[in-house]
Symmetry: C2
Subunit: 329 residues, 2 copies
């Protein structure tokens, strides 16, 4: 075969891999086969330079092996890492990713999701905070972090557990007066559970807490005003703050240091996400880490599952706490 | 039309937009039309929820309106932002992106690039540092940052000019003894020109300089050893350092501060890339900024250009200097 002009067939791949043609077909169509078989087939595909014609394939089997992924952008490192891991998961199953970034524009999100039906993609993985999004009826869809209803499985980190864990860690580290800060939509979404878990833990532990939430669009200075109101003679009322995202934590730390408040000596800060400098270096702050690889794998597993209708409507994956220098431990 | 089940036709879109059917067709096929017409057609497409069947379209016109984008990963914020802007550029022309991440695995890069020919994508935009990559003959390909030969246009920032600018800025800020640090492949690639531009400026300005380059795979401690060798009684031999990337600059700053050397008081540091915290907040360091949006637009413009054969083999886009706190200005 080698570099000859003849395109190898599925039979050639099966011979090279030492498996049945049906196994090759399964791998190509993303159906489950034993991991060892899958690896052998994938190696044979690469070695022989076997090429699938997705158009012929699309018309033949009505499967395209393409999953559409809809996210706001890839500038935010959390979204970028999520797409990175989804892409790897899809590739391992010989699926391809059609990527659509929306800048969280509801019209554009609707356009891409609606388009998917006629585009013959095999499924959609969508991260949208648009509550009005009309979801397609004839195509499997998985939502990340936003619950659209029982017919659309939602994959998220355990936001409630994460908020709970943040409060526990702050109290464990000696904090006596806590605050929770969040910016974002008022609409019901998974991320709001971070607040609920936090408040619940504070109540269980008998620790006073304050919530400060501002809507998208409100300027950041609202947080500066809030912190200034709680600053008395250079000392802040709070000695522990949980921020709903690492990026908010980063800004708050900057603001506090500008006010002469030391982190973590005077105030300990915990963020949420587990984002790292340059994607893979140090953490920005002490944080509740979302299990991005597991979340991505779950999204891909579900969207390709023929039994999707029987999937749970919400799958929350476990988070963990990581020390990142903005707490005492 | 509205939410009825009848799929609107191209004629309906043309009527809604008040343009000729040919104009709608051009927009759908990514051919150039006046911006105002394009916007009107896109609005009509969204309003009517018009859906293109890419398979029928692919078989009819041998165009699929899909561009394959091959990058190492989306963990690195530079790659993630590049893909983000390419995606937006493609969407504006009604093109879709098939995303392939490779972890810089040469075999996987080759697999994706070879696959593209039979996948009937309309073109490839590829970021690979694999010098052995065999490029397809029958499909337009644009390379980012790596020169593959005169038949594959390469789009990069002006790496030579950027290295030159870094040296100039350090000298302008009072530095008298410079160093250049780089990690990466020895192979010829565009990024190596950062060193050449830097060295050239140092010679023109009559400023002594030292180069320290380590190969991929050499541990970072090689840089620590290098800095320690040049540390005498708490003072570093250099008062200005140009690092080939922002991420290296970030590590070097950390190492220097650990040695008690102050940045920028004792040593001024300039990186390269223009990466920002969380993608869009502060710069990590003073840096030479790559014009990512312009580079992305150029890649898309070229890969869709019917006259690609006449394109220049290398297009270097202008960089700029940005102060990020690790220099005196």
């Amino acid at each position: 075969m080698g570099k000859g002009k003849t395109n190898p067939t599925m039979k050639d791949v099966a011979r090279e891999a030492g498996v049945a043609v049906g196994t090759v077909s399964k791998v190509i169509n993303g159906l489950p086969v034993g991991k060892e078989y899958r690896i052998r087939v994938e190696e044979a595909i690469r070695k022989l330079n076997y090429r699938v014609n997705i158009y012929a394939q699309g018309l033949r089997s009505s499967r395209t092996n393409v999953i559409q992924v809809v996210v706001p952008n890839l500038i935010n490192p959390f979204f970028a890492s999520l797409v990175n891991f989804i892409n790897k998961e899809l590739a391992q199953r010989n699926y391809k990713m059609m990527l659509c970034t929306t800048d969280a524009d509801p019209e554009l999100e609707q356009f891409y999701v609606s388009m998917s039906e006629q585009q013959k993609v095999d499924g959609i993985i969508c991260l949208s905070y648009n509550p009005m999004l009309e979801v397609p009826e004839n195509i499997p869809m998985i939502s990340v972090d936003r619950y659209f209803g029982t017919n659309i499985p939602c994959v998220s980190s355990d936001n409630y557990g994460g908020g709970h864990l943040a409060a526990e860690k702050l109290v464990e580290n000696g904090c006596k007066n806590l605050a929770f800060l969040r910016t974002g939509t008022k609409l019901v979404n998974e991320t709001n559970k971070r607040k609920a878990g936090f408040a619940s833990a504070c109540e269980e532990l008998g620790v006073p807490y304050t919530l400060k939430m501002i809507d998208d669009g409100t300027p950041y200075s609202a947080f500066e005003d809030f912190l200034r109101e709680h600053l008395h003679g250079g000392a802040l009322d709070f000695d522990g703050i949980f921020c709903a995202t690492d990026s908010l934590a980063y800004q708050i730390i900057h603001t506090l240091r500008g006010m002469g408040v030391r982190v973590p000596e005077d105030v300990q800060i915990i963020g949420y996400d587990g984002v790292r400098y340059f994607g893979d270096m140090d953490l920005y702050c002490s944080t509740i880490v979302q299990p991005l690889e597991e979340m991505s794998a779950t999204c891909v597993h579900l969207v390709l599952d023929d039994q999707l209708g029987k999937a749970p409507s919400l799958i929350c994956l476990p988070v963990s706490y990581a020390y990142g220098g903005t707490t005492k431990a």
